[in-house]
């Protein structure tokens, strides 16, 4: 991505490594990760579980300390609670004692303070994700899919320039997943945030992203960085019958296989 002008780089990661110590043993989870993501790009991180995808996301969101290397988000180091970053979790992380509306409101209020037009914006977002009529429902009374819709609305209510999504649809059934992926795409089309999406679902990565970064098994290294040349705006459903989509998927699958093979050799 050398062609990208420096000012247009939203996320720059340089030689980031990370170790965990576990019962006296140190485990290296990330090994010399470098990448740069231009503003407004939708990037997916894929790789086998335990490859450090979530750790990298934690470092970007400031939830895990940076041990070595450099990270800059819009020119500044990561920090928890930065107004221009938002994090979405694998499980919905909704507060069960707050209604759907209040869950979104709680996040928006924490970030941007109370304002009169906030209410209208939150109601509109909840409508966008298909939750009209469920504003006052508590999470316990919502299905998993509906809870993740609330979480999606909450994430976008923060209006952050950088979104870090950690397997947001991992726990959903195939059909609900398709619906929510399209919701995500249409919200992204509107806000054009820079997105880093961690997923283990290659089809999801191809369908949603501009670029898929493939990581090796632990310790995580970048083994492939593939641009996805599919037309925008996309509909995940329409993609299913598009030849180019399946070709891209197949090509990326081979990359991933090769990466896994290389990692095996590495580990041996």
């Amino acid at each position: 991505m050398a062609a990208v002008h420096e000012a247009d780089v939203a996320i720059r990661v340089e030689r980031v490594s990370h170790v965990y110590s576990q019962q006296g043993r140190t485990v290296r989870v990330l090994d010399g990760i470098s990448l740069s993501i231009p503003r407004g790009e939708f990037v997916a991180l894929v790789g086998p579980s335990g490859c450090g995808k979530t750790t990298l996301l934690d470092i970007l969101s400031g939830l895990a300390p940076l041990q070595s290397g450099h990270v800059l988000l819009a020119g500044k180091p990561p920090e928890p609670g930065r107004r221009d970053t938002a994090r979405m979790f694998a499980r919905d992380a909704l507060l069960p004692w707050l209604s759907a509306y209040r869950n979104v409101d709680f996040a928006a209020r924490t970030r941007r303070g109370a304002s009169d037009d906030a209410r209208g914006a939150i109601l509109a977002l909840l409508k966008d994700v298909g939750l009209e009529g469920f504003e006052n429902t508590y999470p316990r009374q919502l299905s998993q899919g509906m809870r993740q819709r609330v979480a999606l609305a909450r994430t976008f209510s923060l209006q952050s320039a950088q979104l870090f999504l950690d397997e947001p649809f991992g726990a959903l059934d195939a059909q609900t997943k398709l619906v929510l992926q399209d919701k995500l795409l249409s919200l992204w089309d509107r806000y054009r945030s820079t997105v880093v999406l961690v997923t283990h679902d290659l089809a999801e990565a191809v369908a949603l992203s501009d670029r898929v970064i493939v990581m090796s098994a632990r310790p995580g290294r970048i083994v492939a960085d593939v641009a996805i040349d599919l037309p925008r705006p996309r509909s995940v459903r329409a993609l299913q019958s598009l030849r180019a989509y399946h070709d891209t998927y197949a090509r990326l699958w081979q990359e991933l296989e090769r990466a896994a093979g290389a990692a095996d050799v590495d580990a041996a």
Partner: protein
């Protein structure tokens, strides 16, 4: 692989709420009838055993005697004094012990060091059967109301402390991460995440604690005498009046039932998001 537009997702996504029909109501009515029948059977068997001297009425009392006795004692006000005495001490112990427990839990949740320091001592105190301390409380605080209240507090305090601590520790790591990613301060994480998480177990502790406080007070009254319901039980059993004992026991059952029902009401209101 064509999907019907929109909607296809969230199969079975309808809210779980509002699913109570008329069938459930009639089922509930049946249960109530069944309970009344069960009660009637128990009372009838009891009466039969005592009346036919299968078990001497002097041991187990006789419903046809102690039920009217109970009514007279309530009408002429002689049980009311005992009820007032016992309830006052119970409520005092409940409030004092409750506030002390919540404050302690606050300190222990805020400081890991203090918690690590006192943890084994709290465990040891909790393992001690506090009812066994009642005679000591009487020595320390006299035969009056104070020793009863202290006895109640000794039960209330630990029950609520344990429940509150357990509740505060059950905070989901995801919620903390969310709060941090939103930029909440440590203090706001405590007030907006930890406290609401602990509310259900705090209320479970309050409900359980209230009943045990009553137990602590009555135990002290049994030993110390005075005017409370426990003292009445002790008086009747010392005079071999089983009917008197059962009459007072019924009052106690009723009181603890009412107290528990009030707590459940408040609890259901404050934790309505759980259902």
């Amino acid at each position: 692989m064509s999907m019907p537009p929109e909607a296809a997702g969230d199969l079975g996504g309808a809210p779980v709420a509002a699913r109570r029909g008329s069938l459930a109501l009639s089922h509930h009515a049946w249960i109530v009838v069944g309970r009344l029948v069960l009660l009637a059977v128990v009372v009838a068997v009891w009466e039969a055993l005592a009346r036919n001297n299968v078990v001497p009425a002097a041991f187990i009392g006789q419903p046809s005697i102690f039920l009217p006795f109970l009514v007279t004692k309530i009408m002429d006000g002689s049980f009311i004094v005992g009820i007032r005495e016992t309830l006052t001490a119970t409520l005092a112990a409940f409030v004092i012990g409750g506030i002390a427990a919540i404050l302690t839990a606050l300190v222990l949740t805020a400081s890991h060091t203090v918690k690590a320091l006192v943890d084994p001592f709290i465990d040891a105190m909790n393992a001690l059967p506090r009812v066994a301390l009642v005679p000591l409380f009487i020595v320390w605080f006299g035969l009056g109301t104070l020793s009863k209240i202290v006895s109640g507090i000794s039960l209330m305090y630990f029950i609520l402390l344990y429940n509150t601590l357990a509740g505060a520790q059950s905070v989901e790591p995801d919620h903390i991460q969310l709060a941090r990613s939103l930029g909440l301060s440590k203090r706001r994480i405590f007030t907006s995440i930890v406290v609401p998480t602990a509310v259900p177990s705090i209320f479970a502790g309050l409900r359980l604690g209230l009943i045990y406080t009553l137990l602590g007070v009555v135990t002290a009254e049994l030993i110390a005498g005075g005017k409370g319901l426990g003292s009445l039980i002790s008086y009747y059993s010392n005079t071999f009046d089983a009917n008197g004992v059962f009459a007072v026991l019924l009052v106690l059952v009723f009181l603890s039932y009412v107290l528990a029902a009030i707590m459940t009401r408040i609890e259901r209101h404050l934790t309505r998001w759980q259902r």
